[in-house]
């Protein structure tokens, strides 16, 4: 357990000391301020516009952090040979993967927390009330990013190019949000292709499941069991993906 904590702590420090982390925060602050300008130009309710744009920005910046850091952390350790120093200790490889992933999630969590505070602060100033109800959407954004980050970590255990890993992870993010199209295409395709598309729709995580932004902003009802179900759904996928990542690490050699 101590080794997981050590790797977790090291990864968190790496994240919060990275230029990417601070770059995202500064850029996001500027964009949050610009949402106020946009909302002035619109006839719609200002609170909803700022909330909608704000949540979309948080989601996008979170995605950038999850993809870039997720595909980079283990990859860079391998390229630099730092992983060898860690594995030369009595550290099980799955613990290394777990420590890295948890550290990454802490970075994403801190990032999300700061961005959320910025958004809530902007709304408080502009609308004059604390929009706490947005936390429900922020919760699903965090879970979705946890899933994306695990995919990034998975690719970083064997990929020889961080760019390629990032592009594939982004590709899977897009597919995850297009499973309805896959299912529709499956119905219209031939037997084999239809089966293939249906299988893909089952294997890939359904990322639309996480998208409750519109419902939250417009106060539409959500089943109370939804929040628990989506947590279990995410945990199931993340554990499975990290299990695969650990298997790959277990077999890997470092020259």
């Amino acid at each position: 357990m101590r080794s997981i904590i050590a790797i977790f702590g090291g990864t968190l420090k790496e994240g919060v000391r990275s230029k990417l982390f601070w770059g995202i925060l500064v850029f996001a602050l500027l964009l949050f301020l610009s949402t106020m300008v946009v909302s002035e130009l619109s006839f719609a309710e200002k609170e909803k516009i700022i909330a909608d744009l704000g949540l979309s920005l948080i989601s996008a910046f979170g995605l950038i952090a999850a993809v870039i850091l997720g595909t980079d952390l283990i990859y860079r350790d391998i390229q630099n040979g730092t992983v060898q120093i860690i594995l030369a200790r009595p550290v099980k490889r799955w613990k290394y993967v777990a420590g890295k992933y948890l550290g990454l999630m802490a970075i994403i969590g801190v990032n999300l927390l700061l961005l959320s505070l910025m958004l809530l602060f902007v709304l408080l100033i502009y609308v004059g009330k604390p929009c706490i109800y947005l936390l429900r959407s922020l919760y699903t954004i965090f879970l979705e990013l946890s899933l994306i980050a695990s995919i990034g970590v998975f690719f970083s255990t064997f990929s020889t190019s961080q760019l390629l890993s990032s592009l594939v992870t982004l590709g899977l993010f897009i597919i995850g949000h297009s499973l309805d199209i896959l299912r529709m295409s499956a119905g219209k395709s031939g037997k084999f292709l239809g089966f293939l598309l249906k299988s893909l729709a089952v294997i890939f995580p359904d990322l639309d499941f996480y998208d409750i932004k519109i419902k939250v902003i417009h106060g539409l009802p959500l089943e109370s069991s939804y929040y628990g179900e989506i947590l279990l759904y995410t945990l199931g996928y993340v554990i499975f993906i990290l299990f695969l990542a650990s298997l790959i690490m277990e077999r890997r050699e470092f020259r």
């Binding site: 101590r2 080794s3 120093i85 594995l87 030369a88 009595p90 550290v91 470092f254 020259r255």
Partner: protein, 304 residues
């Protein structure tokens, strides 16, 4: 005496498509507790591959190995081991102190024990004043020192150093060699690889010569130094009587129709010379044989 490292026919073959490269072949070796073992060989001989196999960073293609009696495939085999890789690169966003704390936690330390160890090791390797500085601002020598410090975290009984003096200035080199000596005096086992033979001559007890993946020779430096007092004696008119008398006193090195060359230890020198005189032999040359490690190394890889 406890055997710290044991390998049996350890072999590593790298496969890339149809190409097979034998990095290490049939390496069988035993390292005993308290030894400083110098593992020498030219670049690409398989030294780092062997070390990485011992640490399960690479997996052997065949053969077995144990560290402190534990199969190297188990993480427990690395419980009492500290390791410094060749040209180490650490987390450069951490300060020296933070990095050692990280290494200490990986070694199983925590709380005040960890803090004390971090402080004492920073002082031990002479970078206490730079402890707050980020590693990216450390010089190569300082990186090597912090590397040595992290290898000593957890007070390991076996310290494996891969090319520890490579690229260091004379001061850094002296510090590293002094550290190896001090580890030996504390009963620790040191296994280090290098291609700098002078370093091995200075600190090693035993030496293994690795060439093209094969362990060609393992010998004790003390014994080899004893051999420095051997004499090479070339003799004419050596009859059968002289051969019989010399059997217990000397080693036959060369023989042709006219001349015979013997290798004689210093202890037996006068007795041997008397035998030569008594048996009618004539000494042509008498040379004190002094071989350094470089000669032994070149001779060994020449034969290999």
């Amino acid at each position: 005496m406890e055997r710290v490292i044991v390998t049996e026919s350890l072999t590593k073959i790298y496969k890339s498509g149809k190409r097979r490269t034998e990095a290490v072949r049939d390496l069988s070796l035993e390292i005993k507790r308290g030894e400083v073992f110098g593992f020498i060989g030219p670049n690409g001989a398989g030294k780092s591959t062997t070390i990485k196999m011992l640490l399960s960073i690479l997996y052997p293609t065949s053969g077995k190995a144990w560290v402190f009696g534990v199969d190297i495939r188990s993480p427990d085999a690395r419980k009492r081991v500290g390791y410094l890789p060749e040209n180490p690169r650490f987390y450069d966003y951490l300060s020296g102190e933070e990095f050692l704390r990280f290494a200490g936690m990986l070694a199983g330390l925590s709380g005040s024990r960890l803090e004390k160890k971090v402080e004492s090791l920073l002082k031990y390797v002479g970078i206490y004043d730079a402890r707050k500085r980020k590693l990216r601002k450390y010089s190569k020598g300082m990186i090597q020192r912090i590397g040595l410090a992290q290898a000593l975290m957890g007070d390991p009984d076996l310290i494996i150093l891969d090319e520890p003096t490579s690229g260091l200035d004379p001061l850094g080199r002296k510090l590293t060699l002094d550290l190896i000596r001090s580890l030996r005096s504390r009963g620790k086992t040191v296994f280090f690889s290098t291609h700098i033979l002078k370093d091995v001559e200075e600190v090693a007890d035993r030496v293994g010569i690795l060439f093209k993946g094969r362990l060609l020779k393992v010998f004790s430096l003390d014994e080899e130094r004893q051999r420095e007092n051997d004499y090479q004696i070339e003799i004419e008119n050596a009859g059968i009587d002289l051969f019989i008398a010399a059997e217990k006193l000397a080693e036959l090195m060369e023989k042709d129709e006219k001349r015979v060359t013997f290798l004689v230890r210093e202890d037996n020198l006068f007795e041997f010379l008397e035998a030569v005189r008594d048996k009618g032999g004539r000494i042509i040359t008498l040379t004190r044989k002094k071989r350094n490690l470089e000669e032994i190394f070149l001779e060994t890889i020449g034969e290999g």
